[in-house]
């Protein structure tokens, strides 16, 4: 499920962190962050096991 991050969210976080954003940057960051956060889905799907074997070289 894609995260929904608004321009308002970004402005609020920037205010908390005392970061100066440029005009229009909040909207761009919101869009970019939605994509980044969406890419973390793989974290919820970790599987596999360790395998060790000799290599004949």
């Amino acid at each position: 499920m894609r995260a929904h991050i608004t321009e308002h969210d970004v402005i609020e976080i920037a205010r908390m962190a005392r970061i100066r954003l440029f005009e229009g940057e909040a909207a761009l960051l919101a869009e970019e962050l939605e994509e980044i956060v969406g890419s973390f889905e793989g974290l919820l799907d970790l599987d596999g096991s360790v395998a060790v074997k000799e290599v004949d070289r």
Binding site: I13, M16, I19, L29, V37, F40, V50, V52, E54
Partner: protein, 481 residues
């Protein structure tokens, strides 16, 4: 400038000490030669943010006085060796900016423990080195104070975030520089600049007095042009040396051979899309070189490493947000801190806002929890692997140094650290070892040697064996005159 038949720039710490004790040159002469070289060439590299000649010459005179009085028992293993520091490490009386305009003009009042240990060992403090702003980057392009160029090709990045440290050693300005590594910030620039770069075991070196990016991941380590110097520097940083002794436990251990050493390879690392042919070849050549010297090769897998980058991209920004939110600007001499919006750069803004989002939402909590689980898995994966092997060989970074501006997508930039972050998440030690020049680009390539926490001895033994087989790193040709 040269001493005898050897160009000064090419000398490592051991050779410098020998020259000093043999009376070939004084510590002041060495320091002056170092400062002159920086003055002459660093304009084209941009590795230094600040040079500290007064401190350097004062420290050099103290060493010379001890030599003149034959008080050799008071000299540390880095006596007379010029060393420079990443600009997130405090050196009292010098600026600490972390590459950020926010801290421009800030002069440190105290000296970081890691810096003090190097100075106590007799090193000569040459200055502070450029870095990505608050260590947010992999190319040193995000520094507020201009770019650092790769000494092997001035149109290319040196890597980052400790790009100034790697470039200063590659250009022959100093034999040892300190950097910090939260996800690959020592190993990746070391690889791109063709020098040795070590991330010690988490907790081995004190971080007190080093401005934090992510405390749970950060570690201070050395850049050098030979393995023995790296071994020496690690022991000094860990406080494991005695006055009057020129060798340390690790610097002696690098002479041991690798017969019987069990070396692991990670097939899934080697099959990653985007790994360049020449970086892949570098790892395979390293494996062959170790096998020829008596090591045995095995395959191991670190399944958690597949999502290590995502875990790092969740946890790193959270720590960054917390650090900057807690940033007490008054401590840095910035007045009316609450009213002053931090004038941080674009990459820092991106990471801080991402961190704020992940720390303040339910969705963020879910990812943070998953990222921490990934860390636990990676710790177990490595523990399991190191039950069967002594060291693991892996790529350092997917490709050789790229051109300035070539990578603008932050996600793509993050991929520079795709082979290194799992080591930070697990708290292991790892290093980048130069493997000559790549067959495709003609630029430096390298191999990553990973060992279990506390496994520096095995790791450095393997590195020294590669150095004997492949040849050690050299000063970049543009600066070898």
């Amino acid at each position: 400038m040269s001493f005898g038949t050897r160009p000064f720039a090419a000398l490592g710490a051991s050779a410098l000490r020998e020259g000093l004790l043999d009376g070939q040159f004084s510590a002041r002469e060495a320091a002056e030669a170092c400062l002159a070289r920086i003055g002459r060439y660093d304009g084209g590299v941009g590795s230094f943010l600040e040079v500290t000649p007064e401190m350097a010459l004062r420290a050099a005179d103290e060493v010379d006085e001890k030599v003149a009085m034959r008080r050799f028992e008071e000299l540390g293993p880095l006596a007379g060796v010029p060393v420079a520091f990443k600009d997130n490490m405090n050196l009292a009386g010098a600026h600490t900016t972390c590459g950020s305009r926010v801290l421009a003009g800030h002069v440190a009042r105290e000296t970081a423990v890691c810096v003090q240990r190097v100075l106590d060992a007799g090193a000569i403090p040459i200055g502070k080195l450029n870095m990505d702003e608050f260590a947010f980057g992999s190319s040193t392009e995000t520094s507020a104070f201009g770019r650092t160029c790769n000494p092997w090709d001035l149109e290319r990045v040196p890597g980052g975030s400790s790009g100034g440290s790697a470039a200063a050693v590659a250009a022959g300005f100093v034999p040892i520089a300190l950097g910090s590594d939260a996800g690959g910030s020592i190993r990746q620039p070391a690889c791109l600049c063709g020098v040795v770069g070590v991330k010690p075991t988490y907790g081995l070196v004190s971080r007190q007095g080093v401005e934090a990016f992510a405390e749970s991941l950060d570690q201070v380590g050395p850049f050098t042009r030979c393995v023995e110097d790296a071994a020496l520097a690690i022991d000094v940083l860990a406080g494991r040396w005695s006055a009057g002794a020129w060798q340390t436990e690790l610097s002696r251990a690098v002479r041991d051979d690798v017969r019987g050493m069990r070396v692991g390879m990670v097939p899934s690392f080697m099959d990653v899309a985007g790994l360049s042919g020449e970086m892949r070849e570098a790892v395979l050549r390293a494996a062959d070189a170790l096998a020829l010297q008596g090591a045995s090769l095995r395959e191991v897998e670190i399944p958690g490493a597949q999502v290590a980058m995502d875990a790092y991209r969740v946890l790193g920004p959270c720590r960054a947000f917390e650090n900057l939110a807690c940033f007490d600007l008054a401590r840095y001499g910035v007045e009316d801190a609450q009213k002053l919006p931090l004038a941080v750069g674009a990459e820092a803004r991106r990471r801080i806002v991402l961190g704020g989002y992940l720390l303040s939402t339910d969705e963020g909590a879910r990812y943070r929890s998953a990222a921490k689980e990934v860390c636990r898995r990676i710790v177990d994966d490595y523990k399991h692997a190191f039950g069967s092997v002594d060291v693991i060989l892996a790529p350092v970074t997917p490709r050789a140094a790229f051109r300035f501006g070539e990578i603008t997508d932050p996600t793509e930039m993050h991929l520079s650290d795709m082979f290194t972050v799992s080591v930070n998440l697990a708290g292991n030690t790892a290093m980048s070892m130069p493997m000559g020049l790549g067959s495709q680009t003609g630029l430096p390539v390298g191999v990553q040697i990973i060992a279990a926490a506390g496994g520096e001895r095995e790791m450095l033994r393997a590195a020294a064996a590669l150095e004997r087989a492949i040849g050690g790193p050299s000063v970049a040709p543009l600066f070898s005159a």
